[in-house]
């Protein structure tokens, strides 16, 4: 919220500079995001009087004005048509500076005025429009800003109409609705600066009217307790016109567009006091009765912005008419949120009925959130408006209307009340204060609280508790103060939290525990990074199309992602069921950015799976679970050349990475031939219970534009959280004997099957376990190897734990194993 320093000083007498005050406000909870001096870009601009105005001697559409500047005469050429002799204007002589106007209309660096020739007439500087002063909204006339007749010729513009004002842009937290006004900030400063003095309200005393209304008007009924009180004021003989220049400048500077004296009066009061007001044209009210009631389910109203709003029973309406059986009253305003289109003030409005009401924060908050309407009124009501302000706001606005439009006021208000919430005393104990702040001066605390208008409650005088327990009653504008901690906060923020001493937490009967998931992630990422992988974090959202890109079939849970109800874009509308698309996108980004080398990526993150497939993917109801997953991707790069022999990654080099990730958790893993919808038919392995390793199917590689193979793996992490402990055994102290076996193996048989048969053959022939290991050391095909086969050569290590195996014994067993394999159909070499 933007606050004017000049207006602030009409509410509180402050000795602090804007900078000092901004610092105190910031440190105590009302963060001042910036201090602006919009006038700083304006210099050398003064009031001048147009002495004469004539057509330019040769150029059509131009006028030549002779100005009296109090320092002499000046000649200005202008295209504006709204001037006449005798008008007062702002004049910038050569050397004066103005805010430059960017193409978007925002003020930027300043520009300096100079001399400019228009044909034979030289213009010495220029007369200024509101836009040229950086205030395009202030003047409704196209052309030069014409000043009020009493503008003193020669006076510096910055001394007039608030043009030299200082603005504080304050970020008000949602609990402090009271700070959404100049009055509120002034009270806050009064609390921060105990020596400062709050000034009386800036309108005449006894402004409340006494006259009866000259027009018939019925009663106000408040059947809905969401309206705490409701006041109607009256202004007749209204002359709709622009507001005084000073007011228009103030409104524009505070971010509101000046409209007319009547509307501006309501907005001005809202900015100054924080009380939203609404002006109705009496003649547009269907009936001269007001009922504030809850809406019917499905009831509609067209609001000021022209939109039709569909309502529920939780919304509240200001309506015209009296409730009778069978007939609903007619909505004229969505209470606290926005007025109705039919009943607003128009250019020819003559009688204004002014509404000042107190609506519950909760109800207005509900409606404005549900409808997504963040009007100035709704913003304030939903953060809490002092319920005692509504009547004062009406009085002040009527006073301004009579000043600005000559309207007749002084009529009695018509009012109605529901039960008013009385601020309840809150107890402050020395004990809790001491616990929280390590400081507990009850006397000083009382002074601090009273500075904020939080008064010590007399009725809670405590012989019983002594001076260590005191009760305080918050003012009507501080509904946020309800519990003891709220009082401690007031004291803490006044004193400044930097004053509190620094302590470390004490000893706990428990160590800090990193937890299974996080420590597993720590180990795996270190391993993957050491093996050449780059750690990625990709979006948890995916476009719906990932299901078809990966060819996920309908019976695959991954094909049924959860959909967001309100996605931010088509690309981010479902929750990922696999990390694969994110990594593929990372690969695409890498290649697109010109990276030609290998790409190895991994991500540790969650996937979101429905408990069961759902026929209508966009609806819901079925439960879901979140799984921690590690996924990896390897691509040799668009230019995999190196000076060395082949170093390109392939299925088996990536398998080594996957195994490393498993082995670091004490797990070997069986890889079995498997299939994935997106996997290469011949290069896809399942790791049962853990995941998969696959090359992408060539069709998908092609579709995504990858020239080299893409290898991917995905591992479920839950099963790896508990690391298996390694089992250590010392080597046998007896020597080993080595024998080789070379054989033809059908391509249909896996290495694991052959190894199992070799092991079984040895075990069948020996009572003790003597085969220490079998290792594949060569694999060959081509010349001499029949089609459909490959040659495999294994090295067998025979070794016993209790004795030396002699050559004869080993030969005997080895030959017998060869025979057995031969009988099983292997062609031994």
């Amino acid at each position: 919220m933007i606050v004017s320093w000049q207006l602030l000083n009409r509410f509180v007498d402050l000795s602090a500079s804007p900078e000092e005050a901004a610092f105190r406000l910031t440190m105590s909870g009302a963060e001042v995001e910036s201090i602006e001096r919009p006038g700083a870009l304006i210099s050398g601009v003064v009031v001048a009087r147009v002495q004469s105005l004539e057509r330019h001697p040769s150029k059509e559409n131009l006028f030549v004005a002779e100005l009296d500047t109090s320092k002499g005469k000046a000649v200005c050429v202008t295209a504006a048509t709204n001037l006449k002799a005798g008008d007062k204007v702002f004049y910038g002589a050569p050397g004066a500076t103005l805010p430059g106007i960017t193409p978007h209309g925002a003020a930027s660096e300043k520009v300096e005025l100079g001399l400019r020739d228009f044909g034979e007439v030289r213009s010495e500087g220029m007369m200024l429009s509101a836009a040229e002063l950086g205030l395009p909204d202030v003047d409704i006339v196209e052309g030069i800003l014409v000043l009020p007749g009493d503008a003193p010729v020669g006076a510096d513009a910055l001394s007039l109409y608030g043009l030299g004002d200082v603005l504080l842009d304050i970020s008000v937290t949602p609990n402090r609705g009271d700070l959404l006004s100049v009055l509120g900030i002034a009270r806050e400063l009064k609390g921060l600066y105990p020596d400062s003095v709050l000034k009386p309200m800036p309108w005449e005393e006894n402004v409340a009217g006494t006259k009866d209304w000259p027009v018939e008007f019925g009663t106000i009924a408040l059947p809905d307790d969401g309206c705490l009180n409701y006041h109607l004021g009256l202004a007749t003989n209204v002359g709709i016109a622009p507001s005084p220049l000073e007011i228009r400048v103030a409104l524009a500077r505070l971010g509101m567009r000046p409209i007319s004296n009547i509307v501006d009066a309501t907005n001005y009061v809202m900015l100054l006091l924080g009380q939203p007001l609404h002006a109705f044209d009496l003649n547009t009210l269907p009936e001269r009765e007001i009922t504030v009631r809850s809406a019917s389910e499905g009831e509609k109203i067209v609001t000021l912005d022209g939109k039709e709003r569909l309502l529920t029973a939780k919304d509240m309406l200001v309506t015209s008419g009296k409730e009778t059986l069978g007939a609903r009253t007619r909505p004229i305003s969505l209470a606290g949120v926005m007025g109705g289109k039919q009943t607003g003030v128009h250019d020819d409005t003559g009688i204004v009925v002014l509404e000042g009401a107190s609506f519950s924060a909760r109800r207005v908050g509900h409606t404005s959130r549900r409808l997504g309407v963040a009007s100035e009124a709704a913003f304030r009501y939903s953060r809490g408006v002092d319920p005692t302000l509504s009547a004062l706001g009406v009085d002040y606005a009527l006073f301004l209307m009579s000043e600005w439009s000559g309207a007749t006021t002084g009529y009695k208000k018509i009012s109605a009340f529901n039960a008013q919430p009385e601020p309840q005393p809150v107890v402050l104990t020395k004990k809790k204060l001491q616990t929280y702040l390590l400081w507990s001066d009850m006397e000083e605390s009382t002074q601090i609280l009273e500075g904020y208008g939080i008064r010590r409650a007399n009725k809670f005088e405590s012989e019983k508790f002594g001076e260590n327990v005191r009760a305080f009653t918050p003012p009507t504008w501080r509904p946020d103060i309800a519990i003891e901690e709220d009082l401690i906060e007031e004291i803490g923020r006044y004193r400044g939290y930097d004053k509190a001493p620094v302590r470390l937490p004490g000893v706990l009967p428990r160590r800090g525990d990193i937890g299974a998931e996080t420590s597993l992630a720590g180990v795996l990422r270190a391993c993957a990074i050491a093996r050449g992988y780059v750690e990625a974090i990709t979006y948890s959202f995916l476009p719906e199309s990932f299901v078809s890109t990966l060819r996920l079939p309908d019976d695959d849970l991954r094909a049924h992602p959860l959909f967001l109800a309100n996605p931010i874009s088509q690309d981010w509308m479902t929750m990922r069921t696999t990390l694969l698309p994110g990594l593929l996108n990372g690969l695409r980004e890498s290649v697109a950015s010109g990276w030609r080398g290998p790409v190895r990526l991994f991500e540790i993150g969650r996937v979101f799976l429905r408990d069961e497939p759902h026929s209508d993917s966009r609806s819901h109801s079925a439960g879901h679970r979140e799984l921690d997953v590690l996924a990896g991707l390897v691509y040799s790069g668009t230019d995999p050349r190196t000076p060395w022999a082949e170093t390109r990654d392939d299925f088996l080099s990536v398998k080594a990475d996957v195994l490393a990730l498993l082995e670091i958790r004490g797990r070997g893993a069986a890889f079995t031939r498997g299939s994935e919808p997106f996997g290469h038919a011949g290069q896809t392995a399942l790791i049962p219970g853990i995941g998969y390793l696959a090359r992408l199917s060539p069709a998908i590689e092609r579709e995504l534009g990858f020239a080299e193979p893409v290898y991917v793996f995905e591992l479920t992490l839950t099963v790896l959280e508990n690391a298996e402990k390694p089992v250590y055994t010392p080597a046998s102290s007896f020597p080993a004997s080595f024998r080789d076996i070379s054989m033809l193996v059908s391509n249909d048989r896996t290495q694991d099957e052959v190894l199992a048969e070799i092991r079984a053959s040895v075990d069948e022939r020996s009572s003790a376990k003597i085969l220490e290991s079998v290792k594949l050391f060569d694999i060959y095909s081509g010349k001499g190897i029949p089609e459909g086969y490959r040659g495999m050569a294994f090295s067998l290590c025979y070794r016993a734990f209790d004795r030396t195996l002699n050559d004869e014994e080993v030969d005997k067993i080895h030959n017998s194993v060869r025979d057995a394999l031969s009988k099983k159909g292997y062609n031994m070499r």
Binding site: Y497, R503, L504, G515, R525, S540, F563, G582, P643
Partner: protein
């Protein structure tokens, strides 16, 4: 001079001549055989000892043994010389251009945000905090209601939320409707319900808000902290966070604690640290925008409402909570300007400065 002495002298001088021209260890081995082998010149002389008289033998034996020792020593010396020369030659031939690119895979790289998370978790573990995790798809109750943010609460405006379709149907049963958590704070109540008090936890994780512009990503990372013990003062919150910041940035940073507001803490504050880029010395600093301060963490004393929602008696226990953006911390530490680079998995960014 006796005959033997002449022969000794001759063997000695012929050996000395021969050994000088030896250039390889193989030739040296041959020379050794030639003199000390079974039929070698010295062996022949040793064998001739038998023909000497018993009186001559000791002296002659001594002379010949001395000669043998001398020859063996010379051969060994020569061998050492030759080995050194041969090694030197082989090493010269085997020279590798050490500036060539390495073969095999270079190391990968960490993600700055993940690294930040692991570092901060380790710092906090040292202060006795344990890691607690929670779901990313949350229920309205845990994300908002139990944190003192009922559906009408204006604080919800600060957190534009992604919902799942089940949210729209029943207006009555809103507390179970699913959404993407907008902060890591829901883990507070979940952890209190699960572990009770006393409790010290940090909760890192992904969070989501419906924002997408150069300074906001719809997905980002936070770390929440919660301590619930007896008679907890704000000073302990201060100490915990100062340690966290100084530990993470690796030096003593100026800090200031500003009053603020969160519905689930009372009192509430925010922590500003001195600008890690300019230290407050550059009025045009792009990181702190010339303010000298960086807002890094929201916090406060846990609201009794929240403690109660966690199944703990706020009259017996109190505590504090804090929450910070891990992405922001990572960006500050590693000088990253644009959030968007963090989540697209482009290796050329994370391997900046390395050759493709």
């Amino acid at each position: 001079m006796s005959d033997l002495e002449n022969q000794v002298e001759e063997v000695k001088s012929s050996f000395d001549r021969a050994v000088v021209s030896i250039a390889t260890t193989d030739a040296l081995q041959k020379l050794k055989v030639q003199y000390l082998g079974k039929k070698g010149a010295l062996t022949v002389l040793l064998k001739s000892l038998g023909s000497l008289s018993p009186e001559e033998r000791p002296l002659a034996g001594e002379t010949l043994n001395a000669l043998r020792d001398a020859l063996e020593q010379k051969i060994e010396d020569k061998r050492q010389t030759l080995i050194r020369a041969e090694d030197a030659e082989a090493e010269a031939l085997g020279r590798v251009d050490v500036t060539l690119p390495p073969r095999g895979r270079p190391a990968g790289a960490f993600h700055p945000v993940a690294q930040t998370m692991h570092e901060i978790v380790a710092i906090m573990q040292g202060l006795g905090y344990s890691v607690a995790l929670g779901p990313e798809i949350e229920e309205d109750y845990y994300n908002f209601e139990c944190l003192n943010m009922p559906s009408w609460h204006p604080a919800r405006d600060m957190q534009d939320t992604f919902y799942f379709p089940d949210s729209e149907e029943s207006d009555g049963e809103t507390s179970k409707r699913r959404l993407l958590r907008t902060h890591t704070s829901p883990v507070q109540v979940r952890a209190m319900l699960r572990y009770g008090a006393p409790l010290r936890i940090v909760c890192p994780g992904r969070v989501y808000r419906r924002d997408n512009d150069p300074t906001h990503s719809p997905m980002f990372n936070q770390l929440e902290g919660l301590l619930v013990e007896k008679d907890v003062s704000f000073s302990v919150l201060k100490g915990s966070l100062i340690e966290l910041m100084n530990g993470f940035f690796g030096r003593e940073l100026k800090s200031r604690f500003r009053a603020s507001y969160f519905p689930f803490t009372e009192p509430s504050m925010e922590l500003d640290i001195e600008c890690v880029e300019c230290g407050g010395k550059n009025s045009n600093c792009r990181v702190c925008r010339g303010t000298g301060w960086l807002e890094v963490c929201g916090m406060g004393m846990t609201h009794p409402f929240v403690i109660r929602a966690g199944g703990i008696d706020p009259e017996e226990y109190n505590g504090f909570a804090f929450g910070m953006g891990l992405d922001r911390m990572a960006m500050l530490k590693y000088g990253i300007n644009d959030l968007r680079y963090l989540f697209d998995g482009n290796v050329s960014y994370f391997l900046s400065g390395r050759d493709a």
